[in-house]
């Protein structure tokens, strides 16, 4: 793929002639505010930064810091009603004076449109919603070519296919005619990158390009971005909240907090010598590997919780655990579930068997422990949680719950038993926005489980709700407010309080912090930890974020393609993993540490994570009836491998 650079060769020559010290993009004292009925919100309060040609500049900040607004404003894509002032200068050798001032151009006019897509490309966080589902990938990629370059349809197709192969598609001709929903998230993000780069822009604004992706896919996309950036000699403005990503790919860092720039400079200075308290706090709030036992995260803003009241409200309602209570709270055996696709539901002949979502999964959760369940999206971890909640019926397997009052078959429970079970297993969901009804006050949300199970008198329920609010650090006034008036972290706390209301024995946390900001994430994790300690809770903690699981879990199970490939104590998984998938997963985590950068060579091409590259001991024999089985490596460490596997292959 030469001509993506070749076509714009003259442009690039000029830029190089201009010298390295020349900024590609200079943002000067940009202010953006949104007038609202209740006053005005200042999203950006005088921001200045520069993007050097051929370098990656990171714009770091939490949600609400204004980082996305800045990205949009540079492109002139901010909402109509936004008030903008300041200057954004883009170096353009063709323009008089060598620079174009973007903010002064007529809104959506011809001039700014000639910059969009051609001079500056943009990619977004959500690869699914960034594509229209009704148009083919090829149509949407070549659209920018149709707008900016008068070339024939055949050339458009050629250029698009070249670009698709450049971003790593092996069959670009096929992908060109596919629809976005036929691709996986990572593939869609690759296509999105192809779409943004098709006209070889000098600057790519990447707004959280890997946030919605799995950690292994994230590593691939970061590798790709870095590779393309070097090959096309383009600059990237990387908008992100993930300091791990920043440490691994960027040259310069700009830290944004509440519309102001806190700190900026080369990545070395920022990470090794952070000056501003905000940046220092942010660094301390991120869970990282190798934290000492008992070491706590330090959230930027701590929440005050009222433990004593909670203990009386919830702890009191719960019978003291009998001494005879078994050690194992929940026992899952040989769980399998295969979803039927719609085509097959119509099809009388079940010819091609779909891959099972959950395949022969067995594990135990001990009383009072936190079992981490790790895996990428689509590996079946959420299906497992849904089966435990009786929201999905498995095809085979058993789930036995025993809190000391006798074992209950979770999958067969009916009537009274089921009602009781429903109070015992509760769930905390990923999305704090959609998991709370917008039409109920927080008080109603919290008392609903108590109402359903007729716990106590209305007065006692009120008291319990008050205690719950205290436990999550929200005041009494929160009771009458609706979820929309709370921030994401506060809403997630309400979700946790709701799960606590019935004093459950087991709480399934399905990605409880992945939608939250770093600083808020630390709050929630600490809250969950404290509650576990005080109330003796048991967690099944599902997450794709290994650092978070490392912080929370006592034991960790790693899932891949519906199976648990490895399960062991936390330290064992993190320091001495045996299964190649676990190793790949660990290798893909970007550390916010300049001395432990990702090994990008591992992720070139997409093959690093497919099972074909694994040692034969971990691959199912093609014609064998006897499948892989969990092998005991001692002290509760199991790994999925061939029964005949050589023990030497199973060393970490």
């Amino acid at each position: 793929m030469i001509h993506a650079t070749g076509r714009n060769g003259s442009d690039r020559m000029t830029r190089q002639e201009l010298g390295i010290g020349m900024d590609l993009l200079r943002v000067e004292d940009v202010k953006v505010s949104f007038p609202l009925a209740t006053g005005q919100v200042d999203a950006l309060k005088g921001v200045g930064l520069r993007v050097l040609p051929g370098k990656i500049t990171a714009l770091v900040g939490e949600s609400g810091s204004g980082k996305s607004v800045l990205g949009q404003t540079i492109m002139g894509l901010q909402p109509d009603f936004a008030r903008v002032s300041g200057r954004v200068l883009l170096t353009d050798p063709a323009a008089p004076g060598g620079k174009v001032e973007l903010l002064g151009l007529p809104r959506d006019g011809r001039l700014i449109r000639s910059v969009r897509g051609r001079k500056i490309g943009m990619i977004f966080q959500e690869p699914m919603t960034s594509f229209s589902a009704l148009h083919t990938i090829g149509n949407q990629i070549s659209e920018a070519l149709r707008i900016h370059e008068p070339i024939s349809a055949k050339e458009q197709r050629e250029r698009s296919e070249d670009m698709l192969s450049l971003v790593g598609f092996t069959k670009p001709g096929k992908v060109f005619d596919m629809y976005p929903f036929e691709l996986s998230g990572g593939m869609r993000q690759r296509a999105m990158i192809a779409m943004a780069l098709i006209c070889s822009p000098q600057l790519l604004i990447a707004d959280e390009p890997t946030t919605a992706l799995d950690v292994t896919i994230q590593a691939q996309i970061l590798t790709l971005l870095r590779d393309l950036q070097q090959r096309l000699n383009m600059a990237i403005l990387l908008i992100t909240h993930d300091l791990g990503v920043v440490a691994n790919v960027t040259d310069e860092v700009v830290v944004l907090y509440q519309g102001r720039i806190m700190e900026s400079g080369p990545v070395d200075d920022i990470f090794r010598r952070p000056q501003h308290p905000y940046l220092k706090g942010l660094m301390a709030a991120i869970p990282h590997f190798g934290m000492k036992q008992g070491e706590r995260l330090r959230p930027l803003r701590d929440i005050q919780i009222n433990r004593d009241k909670l203990m009386t409200a919830i702890g009191g309602a719960k019978p003291a655990p009998k001494t005879s209570a078994p050690e194992i709270l929940l026992s899952v055996r040989n769980l399998s579930k295969t979803y039927q696709t719609r085509d097959q539901a119509w099809d009388i002949r079940t010819s091609a068997k779909p891959a099972p979502a959950v395949d022969d999964v067995s594990f135990d959760i001990k009383r009072g422990e936190c079992l981490g369940l790790v895996g990428e999206s689509g590996c079946g971890k959420t299906t497992v949680s849904k089966i435990l909640m009786r929201a999905v019926t498995p095809d085979a397997g058993s789930v036995i719950y025993d809190d000391g009052s006798g074992p209950v078959d979770v999958l067969a429970a009916k009537g009274e038993d089921l009602q009781r079970l429903r109070t015992q297993i509760q769930m905390v969901f990923q999305d704090p926005v959609s998991s709370l009804s917008p039409r109920m006050t927080v008080g109603n949300i919290l008392s609903e489980p108590l109402d359903i199970h007729r716990r106590g008198t209305p007065l006692q329920r009120r008291e319990t709700v008050d205690a719950l609010l205290g436990a999550i650090g929200l005041g009494q006034s929160a009771r009458h407010r609706y979820p929309h008036s709370f921030s994401g972290g506060q809403r997630q706390r309400v979700g946790i309080a709701r799960a606590l209301a019935l004093a459950p024995g087991l709480i399934v946390c399905d990605e409880p912090v992945s939608a939250l900001d770093v600083s808020v994430q630390a709050q929630i994790l600490n809250l969950l930890k404290d509650l576990q300690k005080d109330l003796g809770l048991t967690y099944l903690f599902i997450s794709h974020n290994l650092a978070v699981v490392d912080y929370m879990a006592d034991r960790v199970a790693v899932m891949w393609a519906g199976r648990i490939v490895e399960i062991a104590a936390r330290e064992t998984i993190m320091t001495a993993p045996v299964h190649p998938y676990t190793k790949a997963l660990l290798a893909a985590v970007p550390y916010p540490d300049l001395d432990r950068r990702l090994n990008f060579a591992t992720f070139e091409g997409n093959t690093a994570l497919t099972s074909t590259n694994w040692a034969p001991a971990f691959r199912a024999e093609p014609d064998a009836v006897a499948d892989l089985a969990p092998l005991d490596l001692g002290s509760g460490h199991f790994v999925l491998a061939r029964k005949s596997a050589d023990r030497n292959d199973l060393k970490p």
Binding site: D108, V115, G117, Q340
Partner: protein
């Protein structure tokens, strides 16, 4: 794809069978039959009825047979195009309905076109200029249009047309063309009459459609892919037409299912007020007088159109929306 269409078409058969049983059952529900109500009507007028003729008709149409037999005759007849005999008009149902049916289709088609032509630009304007004065004004007019009943609007228009212009706006054509074969003169007469019922019937539909198009578009306008398209440098209007509008079209297509039967049965009351020569008033009259074959065939026809309409919209959607065509199961 072909497989899907075939299965989908075959699924219509049991649906239609169930509907026919239901229609027959409902028509048989009121006590007595057409002849009884006819005789009692004649008696109340003080005339004597020819009981021998009525008994003969009764026998001929199997009214002395059990219900199951009559149901089989009715359905069997419809299968080869015999829709039965209208007792009130003393004519086969197909002849009674004939002219009126295509006038109804004409009126409804024009109304739908009118609705779309007016609703689309207004809906797009309202959505793209949300909370502007134009949006508020059009919303107000639209709500008025939804709130005012059609027959009321018809009466008001009739009154003012008479007072101001001295014309009567009833009917679909001038008197002399009734029951005449089609000619240029008749056609132009229809055309000069049709716009009044079109405006009256179309108002509320237009208003409702504007509101729905606005709501659908507003949902789509804030989606990420719209920003993506703008970030490529596409002209805002082209963005609008290519992406959100295209996405919002789906509900128009799903609407076909309800539009077809509404075309035939719709706007009865307005049609009565304006004395239009459409099928609406006839259906009501047939139901009142227990003219069972006429009413039954009507209802069956409506049901058939509904089922066909849903089929058409389903198939059209599979063609137009690749997610339905290719999507297997759910996509995140």
């Amino acid at each position: 794809m072909i497989r899907y269409i075939t299965l989908r078409t075959l699924a219509m058969i049991p649906t239609l069978f169930l509907i026919s049983v239901l229609v027959f059952f409902i028509i048989e529900l009121p006590p007595g039959d057409y002849f009884e109500s006819y005789v009692s009507e004649l008696r109340s007028l003080g005339e004597s009825a020819d009981l021998a003729e009525i008994d003969m008709l009764r026998e001929r149409y199997g009214f002395d047979q059990p219900q199951v037999i009559r149901y089989i005759w009715w359905v069997g007849g419809m299968l080869h195009g015999d829709f039965g005999y209208s007792f009130e008009y003393r004519l086969p149902v197909s002849e009674v309905v004939g002219d009126r049916l295509w006038l109804t289709v004409l009126l409804s088609t024009v109304t739908i076109l009118f609705t779309w032509i007016i609703a689309f630009p207004i809906g797009i304007y309202s959505a793209t200029h949300q909370y502007s004065w134009g949006d508020y004004g059009l919303t107000f007019l639209g709500l008025l249009g939804i709130a005012v009943p059609n027959f009321m609007l018809a009466l008001v228009m009739m009154y003012f047309a008479n007072i101001w212009f001295g014309v009567s706006i009833g009917n679909l054509m001038d008197r002399q063309f009734l029951n005449e074969p089609m000619s240029m003169a008749k056609f132009s007469s229809i055309m000069s009459h049709i716009w009044i019922p079109v405006v009256i019937i179309g108002t509320s539909g237009t208003a409702a459609m504007v509101r729905r198009l606005r709501a659908n578009l507003l949902d789509e306008l804030h989606k990420q892919y719209v920003v993506t398209a703008r970030a490529k440098g596409l002209h805002p209007f082209k963005v609008l037409v290519k992406y959100p509008l295209r996405m919002a079209l789906n509900f128009f297509i799903s609407d076909i299912g309800s539009i077809l039967p509404a075309m035939i049965s719709g706007a009865e009351v307005t049609a009565i007020v304006l004395s239009l020569e459409t099928t609406g008033p006839m259906l009501i009259r047939a139901l009142q007088s227990q003219d069972m074959y006429l009413a039954g065939s009507f209802l069956m026809f409506l049901a058939f159109l509904t089922v066909i309409g849903v089929l058409i919209s389903d198939i059209a959607l599979t063609f137009l929306d690749p997610r339905i065509r290719l999507g297997k199961g759910s996509s995140k």
